[in-house]
Subunit: 317 residues, 2 copies
C-alpha cells in the first residue's frame, strides 16, 4: 500500500475494509483527487471492453483534463501500436494524443533502443502487427508476426529449418496466430544465436479478446517459449516498471502523485504499487469484488470502485 | 547415485571421474551386467534418431535377450501409441512386443484409469494421435488432437467459443499442430469445468523431431497451458516415476536390479535415479560429454558411454 491518506472521516467509515483498501466514496474521493496530478489508466476493462466504450468514460476523462490532471494510458495489449491506439480512442469519440499512450509494443521497442540494440540486428516477433510497427518506428527490422501466421513446418528427414542468424532479439506478445513454425523460429534464435535477447511484452494469463469471454493471453505464448528454451524473459509491460522511466521523463510528475487505475490486480495494481503510485481498482473488467476480498489475494489497491465514471459522480455530489 | 558397485579395479581406473560417474569400460561392464536383470531403454537418441536406427542396436538387444535380460522401452514421445511403436520397431528390424513398450501416451491413459476417471467424462487432447488411441484403448472418449489442427478462432463481438462441459481432463503432449483454437479449448476446460484434470505427458524442452535439429518439445505446449491457466500439471512421463508401478507389476524385478539407459539427463537419468535404478547415459542423443561434465550439471548417471552397442562390444572383449 502506498501513501495512504487517512482522515478521521475515512477511518470511521464503514466502507473501509479491514485490509485498508477503501471503497471510493463521496468522503474520500476529494482526498484522492487532490493528492494526484496524473491518472494512469489501463484500457481494456477500464476504458472499454473489446470494442465497446464503458459508460461515462468520456465525460470523466474530460472532467479530469479540465481540472488540469494529466492522463496517461498504459496498456499491456501489444496488438496495436500507439498510433493505432490513438485511432481507436478517436473512433470511440475520445481525443487522446499518441504521446499519452504507453503500450507494451512501444515498451518492447524502447527497451531495445535504451539498451543500444544494434540496428543491423533483426528482431523476431511472436505477436501482432503493433509490435512490428513500433519496431519500425524505432528503426529496427522485425521478422515474423502476422507474416508467419500460415506457415507450416516440414518434419522430414534431412529437411533443415533455417533461421536468420542475425536475429538478436525475440519479442513475444499475445499471438492468436501462434503456430509451431513461430515457436521453432523463436526457439532456434534463442538457443543458437549468441546473446539473443528474450523480451516479453507482458505475461497476462488471459484477456478479453472478445467481449463475451477470456482467451489465453501473452502469458501463454511467453510460457511456451520459456518451456522450449529453458530461459526467462525480460518483461517490459505491467507489472514491470520499465515504462515508468518514460512516463516520468515526459510528464515530470513524481510517482507518489500518480494514481494507477486498472482492472487487474497482478498487472495494473501491482505495477502501480511497484512504481510507488496510488492505486484504484475498477470492477468493470476481470477482477470481481470477491476476488479482491478473497483471503488468498495479497495485492490490495488503495481504493476500489465499480467503474471509472464513479470518480466523476462522487466528486459531483 | 544409486547402488554403485565399487571394486578395486574400478576405483583404480582412470576412467572414473571425480563425481563418481564412470565411463563404461571393459573393466566395469561385467559388474553392471551382472547386477541388472532388466534394461530400460529410452528410444529416441538411444535406439534410433528420427527414422534411423543407431548402429549396433539390434545385435546388442539380441545379446541381452539371449542372456535372459528383460528389455523395456520407456519413451516420453507421445505421438505414437504402444501398437504404433511396436510397428516402428518391426519396420526397423527389431522384434519388440507391445507389452515391452511404455510410452507417455499410454501413461496418460493409465493415469486416468488408475484414478477411476469416469468413462462418461471426455478428455481434451493437445497432442498427437498416439494419445487419442491409448485413450480409446482404455475406454475413454478423446476430443481434439489432429482433428483440431486446422481450426481457426473467430475473434468477433458476440461470438462465443463453445467448449464441451463434460470434458473432465486435458492431456497435453508434443503437438506440432498447436494453435490458438486448441489453446483456448484446453484453457476453457481447465478454467471452467469443475475438477478438470491437467495431465502432461512430459515436459521435455526440445526433441529431435527431425534428424538434423531439435524442435520445441511437449514442455513448450505444457508451459503454454500453465501460462494461460496458472495451474501446474500432473506429469506422467519421465522423470515422473508414475510408469514404474506398471513396470514393477509386469516384470517383477526390483528397481535396484534395473538399469535405465537414456540420452537425457533431466528425464531419463533423473527418472532412473528417482526410481532407484542404476543409470547409463549414452552420448548418441541430446547430451554431450561436456554437458555431462559441466560443473552446473547436478544429474550424474552411474555410467556413461557413447552408444548402446558399447555394452556388446565391451562384454565381448
Amino acid at each position: 500500500m502506498n501513501s495512504k491518506t487517512t482522515t478521521t472521516t475515512e477511518t470511521a467509515t464503514a466502507t473501509e475494509s479491514a485490509s485498508g483498501t477503501q471503497l471510493l466514496s463521496a468522503q474520500n474521493v476529494a482526498s484522492l483527487f487532490n493528492s494526484v496530478d496524473a491518472f494512469l489508466f489501463d484500457c481494456d476493462g477500464v476504458i472499454w471492453k473489446g470494442d465497446k466504450l464503458i459508460d461515462g468514460v468520456p465525460q470523466t476523462l474530460e472532467m479530469l483534463r479540465s481540472k488540469g490532471k494529466k492522463l496517461v494510458f498504459v496498456t499491456n495489449n501489444s496488438s496495436k501500436s500507439r498510433g493505432q491506439y490513438a485511432q481507436k480512442f478517436h473512433s470511440l469519440g475520445i481525443s487522446v494524443s499518441q504521446d499519452e499512450i504507453f503500450s507494451s509494443s512501444f515498451a518492447a521497442a524502447m527497451y531495445l533502443k535504451l539498451n543500444n540494440f544494434p540496428t543491423d540486428k533483426k528482431v523476431y516477433v511472436i505477436g501482432g502487427e503493433g509490435i512490428l510497427e513500433e519496431l519500425r518506428l524505432a528503426g529496427y527490422t522485425g521478422l515474423g508476426g502476422p507474416e508467419d501466421a500460415e506457415k507450416r513446418v516440414e518434419l522430414k528427414s534431412n529437411s533443415l529449418f533455417e533461421h536468420d542468424k542475425s536475429v538478436g532479439a525475440v519479442v513475444v506478445g499475445l499471438d492468436p496466430y501462434v503456430n509451431y513454425y513461430k515457436l521453432q523460429y523463436g526457439t532456434l534464435c534463442l538457443r543458437e544465436n549468441p546473446g539473443c535477447l528474450f523480451i516479453a511484452t507482458n505475461r497476462d494469463a488471459v484477456g478479453h479478446m472478445t467481449d463475451l469471454q477470456e482467451w489465453p493471453g501473452a502469458g501463454c505464448m511467453v510460457a511456451a517459449i520459456c518451456g522450449s528454451t529453458e530461459r526467462e524473459p525480460i518483461v517490459v509491460g505491467k507489472p514491470s516498471t520499465f515504462m515508468m522511466d518514460f512516463l516520468l521523463q515526459r510528464f515530470e510528475v513524481s510517482t507518489s502523485r500518480m494514481c494507477m487505475v486498472g482492472d487487474r490486480l497482478d498487472t495494473d495494481i501491482l505495477f502501480g504499487q511497484n512504481a510507488g503510485c496510488k492505486t484504484l481498482l475498477v470492477l468493470s473488467g476481470v477482477t470481481t469484488q470477491s476476488t479482491l476480498q478473497d483471503p488468498s489475494n495479497k495485492i490490495l489497491p488503495d481504493y476500489y470502485t465499480s467503474q471509472v465514471s464513479d470518480i466523476l459522480e462522487l466528486l459531483g455530489r
